[in-house]
């Protein structure tokens, strides 16, 4: 529904586009007002994604305006049911979510799942990094696996909350090296900062978190990065992947957007179109570089298939870790 002012604005734009400056027709907003729903508290990764999206979409003239709503809690499983029920078939509403939510839905046995939304696009991913304190005898991923095989209980690894992406990666490393995932000694911390402190204070043998979280400490020589969970070498990062070192593991903590259930084909196409224009823009690429996000766009049906596949993969590893039944 249009308010009078928006109507005037829209008609003025349409007039300008159609009559005076036809070559600016592309700059007309794809969707005039969007509502971005963030199932997390302000300040976190999903919130930053939404705010960066809003900023770029607006500056590129792809939207007229945006409203961001935060409903945080329990890895997104508090916000998800609210999004599904409140915005049904609303073509202007989009929710930011990602891998953490997939894990939380499984671990919390949530009734409302991601397959009740309309997957629109994957936007970014953060690969994880495995680090050890600078004075550790472990030099590379092979040493780490050898220590893990010798006695998993002796290799205490710090990271984020139990069942989160960091824990999942350690479980995958253990499984790929033939170590029982339930035997690993994972020490969960509430935030990346506290896990980092435990590493710097030499309290634990290793740590796992998003690459960006450790990058500065590695540069300063306080930590040693011994492997990253990306699929291939990353430009500007002089650290081999886990795969290269014989640990067949790949994990991206991805983030993407979802539309509400019951979206019409036209609305879905419009949202996909909007995101495709977003990720193609220079401004978005700049934001990604600035924030250490890897742009891994994937839209429409391919994304829907990816979400399904990733859900099955995460469910399996959480079962291996004894966190899901």
């Amino acid at each position: 529904m249009f308010t009078k002012r928006e109507f005037l604005k829209a008609s003025a734009l349409a007039g300008a586009a159609g009559l005076i400056l036809p070559r600016f027709a592309l700059a007309a907003p794809v969707i005039d007002q969007i509502q971005l729903f963030v199932p997390a508290a302000p300040g976190g990764g999903w919130d930053q994604t939404a705010r960066a999206m809003e900023q770029v979409l607006r500056s590129e003239g792809l939207i007229g305006g945006a409203q961001v709503t935060n409903v945080g809690g329990a890895g997104g499983t508090v916000g998800l049911p609210r999004f599904v029920s409140q915005y049904r078939a609303n073509g202007s509403a989009m929710m930011v979510g990602g891998m953490v939510m997939v894990g939380a839905i499984v671990a919390n046995k949530a009734a409302v799942k991601l397959d009740q939304t309309t997957p629109i696009a994957r936007l970014t991913g953060e690969f994880l990094a495995l680090v050890v304190p600078a004075q550790s005898p472990i030099k590379d991923a092979k040493d780490f696996v050898a220590a893990l095989k010798a006695d998993p209980a002796k290799v205490a690894v710090a990271g984020g909350s139990a069942g989160g992406s960091d824990h999942i990666l350690l479980g995958m490393i253990a499984k790929a090296s033939g170590v029982e995932p339930q035997k690993i000694n994972y020490v969960p911390y509430a935030g990346g900062g506290q896990a980092l402190a435990a590493l710097l204070g030499n309290q634990v043998a290793g740590g796992i978190s998003g690459y960006g979280e450790f990058a500065e400490q590695v540069r300063a020589g306080k930590l040693r990065m011994i492997g990253i969970s990306a699929d291939k070498r990353q430009p500007g990062i002089d650290v081999p992947t886990l795969k290269e070192q014989g640990v067949d593991v790949e994990l991206f903590n991805w983030r993407g957007v979802f539309g509400p259930p019951g979206l019409s084909d036209a609305d879905r196409k419009k949202q996909v179109d909007l995101v495709e224009k977003l990720v193609a823009s220079k401004a978005w690429q700049d934001e990604c570089v600035k924030r250490d996000w890897t742009s891994i766009p994937l839209t429409g049906d391919a994304y829907a298939a990816f979400v399904k596949e990733d859900t099955a993969r995460i469910e399996a590893i959480l079962k291996d870790l004894g966190l899901a039944s």
Binding site: A41, P42, G43, G44, D47, Q48, R51, A52, E54, Q55, T69, N70, V71, G72, G73, A74, T77, V78, P81, A107, N108, A110, A153, K154, A156, S161, A162, G163, N185, V187, P188, Y189, A190, G191, G193, Q194, L196, A197, A198, L200, G201, Q203, V204, G212, A215, E216, Q217, R219, A220, K222, V289, K290, R291, D292, L323
Partner: protein
């Protein structure tokens, strides 16, 4: 001396008219949100994050730091005047501060808290300037075993707030443990006491409990007494500011509070609450007038914890600026603001962004002076709040508490919890259960549990870690001394008296 010249350069940045304006906006806004129950600096900064797209980084961080310091100042005002602390770090201030207000010394309580905050904030900022690397090295020595020992020491402080009946006090403490346990267990990822409610999986926010028990509980209590026709009129006696005696009773607690607050604030799991508990307990033990504690209100019990609270705020900035380690929710949000500028906070921040960091540190000194200038003259205005007819005043508190709580999470469940806890708070007041131990239990219980289990996980179940780590052993010894020392001392004295009196007779 290198720090000194950098600091001078920092003042060059902080004292530009534009940055002074941001500092003033930040400190004013911070004081205001500190006064309102429920709203805290973390949430405010998070809501202001989009500003980072518009202004340059130095201005944004000066604004954020102003809000952060300002909120620490403002939080004590409602605690003292109305017994409704808006955040967990000022709960201890309410204990003695409100008693002082009730016996007519509201002005002095506000003054000692404002000046104490200034002293602690300034000493803390000096600490950031000159001691940051030393403090952060010390803080990193703290592993799970040391934290657990620190929590044990903090538990000793519960004895200072138990009130007249130990059974009632301990019941309150255990209620706090229970509330703290609700939600997903961090170590195993399994929910506890969440009754299938997804809203409870992240646990209950300490802010909701504090605002519910104190602000809503107090409102209901006052309303009940109003109905019975027994409105309390708070008298104002003597000078609005501090007397010479009050000055001499305040300065030592300010220093002791600062010394407790700054290093604990710098610890990754230290926080602002633990040093306030420790300071309150210490001041009660050391005071020459212990009889004033819990009766007419002792000024030491306001001065110490307030200084500890503000020094810890400075302490939190140490690991953030030197290592890029966020150790509180507010620091984490400030760090995410760094990221939206493409600045990577870390050990190299000081070299790569020297002007920004030193400008920020210099603006902390400026913010402290501004806050003192802003707050001291306001005391006269604030105490007049007590003259507002209680029905209007408490209705206003209820409105702000409700809006603030809903604003944190957009959650109706939190609102329902707020009012349930308010009713619990009312009943606790009515039947003479102290409410402070609930908050202490809720903060310390989960921390102690998590750190204990972490220590045991890392040591592979070896119990001796708590005694073989020297820091941990020392803290446990201090805790034992704090708990048993006074009793042994009393026993010895009785023995001596028993020995001497027959001879004298």
């Amino acid at each position: 001396m290198e720090s000194l010249s950098s600091l001078v350069g920092g003042f060059g940045v902080a004292l530009t008219p534009q940055n002074l304006m941001w500092c003033l906006v930040g400190t004013t806004l911070g004081t205001a949100i500190g006064v309102l129950p429920g709203l805290g600096p973390g949430l405010t900064i998070a809501l202001l994050l989009p500003i980072t797209f518009k202004v340059d980084p130095t201005a944004a961080f000066i604004l954020f730091a102003g809000i952060y310091y300002g909120a620490m100042y403002g939080g004590s005002t409602t605690s003292i005047l109305l017994n409704t602390p808006g955040e967990s770090a000022t709960i201890v201030t309410a204990l003695e501060g409100n008693r002082m207000a009730r016996s007519g010394r509201a002005g002095a309580a506000l003054a000692t808290s404002a000046i104490g905050s200034f002293v602690a904030g300034t000493v803390g900022t000096l600490g950031i300037t000159f001691l940051a690397p030393v403090v952060v090295d010390f803080a990193l020595q703290f592993g799970p075993a040391e934290y657990f020992a620190l929590m044990v020491l903090a538990f000793v402080t519960v004895s200072a707030v138990l009130g007249s009946s130990a059974v009632r006090g301990l019941a309150s403490l255990f209620l706090g443990f229970y509330l703290g346990m609700i939600g997903v267990d961090l170590q195993t990822g399994q929910p506890r006491f969440s009754f299938g409610l997804f809203e409870l999986l992240d646990g209950i926010s300490v802010i909701v409990v504090a605002v519910g028990l104190f602000a809503v509980g107090e409102t209901l209590y006052v309303a009940a007494r109003h109905y019975a026709g027994r409105d309390e009129i708070v008298p104002l006696k003597g000078s609005l500011y501090m007397t010479r005696e009050e000055w001499s009773r305040s300065w030592k607690p300010w220093i002791r509070g600062t010394l407790l607050g700054f290093p604990i604030g710098a610890m990754p799991a230290g926080g602002a609450e633990v040093p306030t508990f420790l300071s309150y307990w210490l001041e009660k033990r050391l005071s020459r007038r212990p009889e004033e504690f819990g009766t007419t209100g002792a000024i030491e019990g306001v001065a110490g914890p307030e200084a500890a609270n503000n020094a810890s705020a400075a302490g939190v900035l140490v690991p953030m600026l030197t290592l890029g380690l966020p150790t509180s929710a507010t620091a984490a949000i400030m760090l995410s603001a760094f990221q939206s500028y493409g600045i990577n906070p870390g050990p190299l921040l000081l070299q790569s962004q020297g002007a920004l960091v030193w400008g920020l540190i210099a603006s902390l000194y400026v913010a402290n002076v501004m806050l003192l200038v802003l707050n001291l003259p306001l005391i006269g205005l604030w105490v007049r709040i007590l003259k507002v007819p209680p029905p209007l005043l408490y209705a206003g508190i209820l409105v702000f508490a409700t809006i603030g709580t809903y604003g944190i999470s957009n959650s109706v469940v939190d609102l329902v919890l707020l009012y349930i806890l308010g009713a619990v708070g009312f009943l606790m007041r009515r039947f003479d259960f102290p409410t402070a131990p609930v908050i202490i239990g809720m903060i310390l219980g989960p921390l102690a549990e998590t750190e204990f289990r972490r220590a045991m996980t890392i040591s592979n179940g070896d119990w001796t870690v708590f005694f073989t780590h020297p820091l941990s052993a020392a803290l446990l010894a201090l805790a034992a001394l704090g708990l048993l020392g006074p009793r042994i001392y009393a026993l010895l004295r009785r023995d001596r008296r028993a020995e001497t009196s027959p001879r004298g007779a």
